[in-house]
């Protein structure tokens, strides 16, 4: 019994909520941003120490964007969220974790950098996959993460649909038929973007990986240009990576100052430079110029243009029984 009590006391001492001003924040992020935020945090900590005189710790949690939003609603205490999709923050706003006007709190729709769905294929592109049309071909195996859990996967769905909407002049029956073929070509839906990359790169499954351009180019750099090729479709969808302070958490913990400084840092020249170095497209001029060479020209359409905004996308496409469920038959 004594052991039990001392064990509990020890555990309590280790995990009791810090009542004083906290010096750590948790950044709950999407799956493929692991390397990016590791680099950001390494630079942010000294920069914040110089400004505020406090050495802070930034903890990270990574998984599919929507899974992460769900975990926060389930009680994961993230001070900031750095997601890859507007609706994942909207759902937190609806549950009153995040201010309703979160998009106005930071520049560019609260999206410090952006990317787009792009393709990674095996060396020499043996299946000749050059655009969205090729994904519906028989015998092509596609890997992208589960749109139910991953913002990355939802962008792929939306980008394919955006292309098909133009191609088939909004003929819904044809669009659906195309998307059904695409989804039927996916042998495995991983729950996060990184797991999808691992499946494609390490496990050798699939002919094409569809993921953010940042992950495509980053993977190419790590895994070797002699093994894979990057393919940019002629048209793709703008993928904003929105950020927000989780008000409910920072107000309870007293960590608002650090959380806001952290997100502002992402917009600073240093923050933008790191994002660019990790193959994210950025807004800050110097960084834009510095990294312009690494991004191919792609015509970008937006969710607003094609689908009338995220407010419409969520109920029409992603709600239970929505348009996604009609084509995602093997879920």
């Amino acid at each position: 019994m004594k052991k039990l009590l001392s064990g509990l006391a020890l555990a309590a001492a280790l995990s009791s909520p810090v009542l004083a001003q906290p010096t750590d924040i948790l950044n709950v992020s999407y799956d493929i941003s692991r390397e990016l935020f590791e680099a950001v945090n390494a630079k942010f900590v000294p920069s914040y120490a110089a400004d505020a005189g406090v050495t802070v710790t930034v903890n990270q949690s990574h998984a599919g964007s929507s899974k992460q939003a769900g975990l926060i609603k389930e009680g994961l205490e993230g001070d900031v969220v750095t997601f890859n999709q507007v609706i994942d923050i909207d759902t937190l706003a609806k549950a009153e974790y995040v201010a309703a006007d979160w998009k106005a709190k930071f520049a560019n729709n609260a999206s410090p950098f952006y990317s787009l769905p792009a393709f990674l294929v095996r060396e020499g592109n043996p299946k000749a996959i050059n655009g969205w049309a090729d994904l519906a071909k028989d015998g092509v195996q596609i890997i992208f993460p589960n749109p139910k859990t991953s913002g990355n996967g939802r962008y792929t769905y939306l980008a394919a649909r955006a292309w098909a909407t133009e191609e088939y002049a909004s003929d819904e029956a044809k669009i659906e038929e195309y998307l059904k073929k695409v989804f039927a070509n996916v042998p495995v839906f991983e729950t996060g973007g990184r797991a999808a990359t691992t499946t494609f790169v390490e496990n050798g499954i699939g002919d094409v990986l569809i993921t953010f351009e940042a992950e495509v180019l980053g993977t190419l750099k790590i895994a070797g240009e002699d093994k894979f090729d990057a393919v940019s479709p002629a048209v793709s969808l703008l993928a904003e990576f929105p950020v927000a302070v989780v008000d409910k958490v920072v107000d309870a913990r007293g960590s608002r100052a650090i959380a806001e400084a952290y997100l502002n840092y992402l917009y600073s020249p240093e923050g933008q430079d790191i994002a660019g170095a990790f193959f994210h497209r950025v807004h800050e001029e110097a960084a834009v110029a510095k990294y312009a060479g690494q991004f191919p020209e792609v015509r970008l359409v937006t969710v607003e243009d094609v689908f009338g905004g995220w407010d419409k996308v969520q109920p029409e496409h992603f709600a239970e029984g929505g348009l996604l469920d009609k084509v995602f038959l093997n879920q």
Binding site: S66, K67, T149, P187, G204, I205, N330
Partner: protein
């Protein structure tokens, strides 16, 4: 209180109230309460919704993959376990103690480590994969991989249940059979095997039950292809990720029911074994 008092008087030793209190409160807090929370969640679904979830095609194929793989793993371990137990009990040979110790490895080794080891061994360029792949045998990301992971993690059960029983069989049982003119084969099948049968079945059932629940080792090697290598545990995990809690609760309830059934079965088998032991 009256019953507690009468019970207490029957016991000579002290500590009934204390141990009953500690045991019951701990079981309620740690085991019963969480289990009822989930059953409550499932009960909230209603029968038709529950049935729709647990009988969906994807769930059905997950059951089939899980149970058939666990069955195959149990059969492999029934043979390998029996062989190991027999050889370890009957013969003296170099390295016997090492092999005996290694039998415990699957229990001591974290399942995630086992999974990492298996996926590396069976990878196309791995130590085993390089020989199997040219023969067209794909273990990596196929059902064979699931079977390998399940078989590895549940390997000790048959060995460790059969071993003590074999050790306890007195030599004169077989001696008597031999002098009565039984052939060695008859001695094994008619005399020895019936004696170890309860332990052997109990071990195999435990092995099967453990294999059904295995997750850590399987996720590394299975590559979760729905309908091909997706086991029930993994499907529950994915439903949780999708925040489809009703589906997770319903499927978890199915696994729970299977666990209860297998527990019941092992208890019956063990009672049978005890009766056997008493008789002989």
């Amino acid at each position: 209180m009256a019953t507690a008092g009468t019970i207490k008087r029957k016991h000579l030793l002290p500590g009934f109230n204390l141990t009953l209190g500690v045991t019951l409160s701990y079981l309620v807090l740690i085991v019963a309460l969480p289990l009822s929370a989930m059953l409550l969640k499932t009960a909230g679904l209603g029968w038709s919704e529950f049935w729709r979830i647990v009988s969906s095609p994807r769930a059905m194929s997950a059951y089939w993959i899980t149970f058939s793989s666990a069955g195959a793993a149990a059969i492999f371990n029934a043979f390998f376990g029996m062989l190991l137990a027999w050889v370890l009990v009957r013969y003296e040979f170099p390295g016997k103690r090492l092999i005996d110790a290694l039998v415990d490895l699957p229990f001591a080794l974290p399942t995630a480590v086992a999974g990492l080891a298996l996926v590396t061994l069976f990878a196309p360029l791995g130590w085993y994969g390089q020989f199997l792949e040219p023969l067209g045998i794909k273990v990596h990301f196929s059902q064979l991989g699931i079977i390998a992971a399940m078989a590895f993690t549940s390997l000790p059960f048959v060995v460790r249940t059969v071993q003590p029983v074999l050790e306890d069989i007195p030599g004169d049982v077989e001696e008597a059979a031999r002098t009565l003119g039984a052939t060695p084969r008859q001695v094994f099948w008619r005399v020895l095997f019936p004696l170890v049968l309860p332990a052997f079945t109990a071990g195999t059932t435990l092995c099967f039950a453990r294999a059904i629940g295995e997750f850590g080792a399987v996720v590394f090697i299975a590559g979760n292809l729905p309908g091909k290598t997706e086991i029930v545990s993994l499907l529950i995990f994915i439903r949780l990720d999708e925040h489809n809690y009703p589906a997770a609760a319903a499927l978890a309830t199915v696994l729970l029911a299977v666990a209860f059934l297998s527990l019941l079965l092992t208890n019956i088998l063990q009672a049978w074994q005890l009766r056997y032991a008493d008789k002989h």
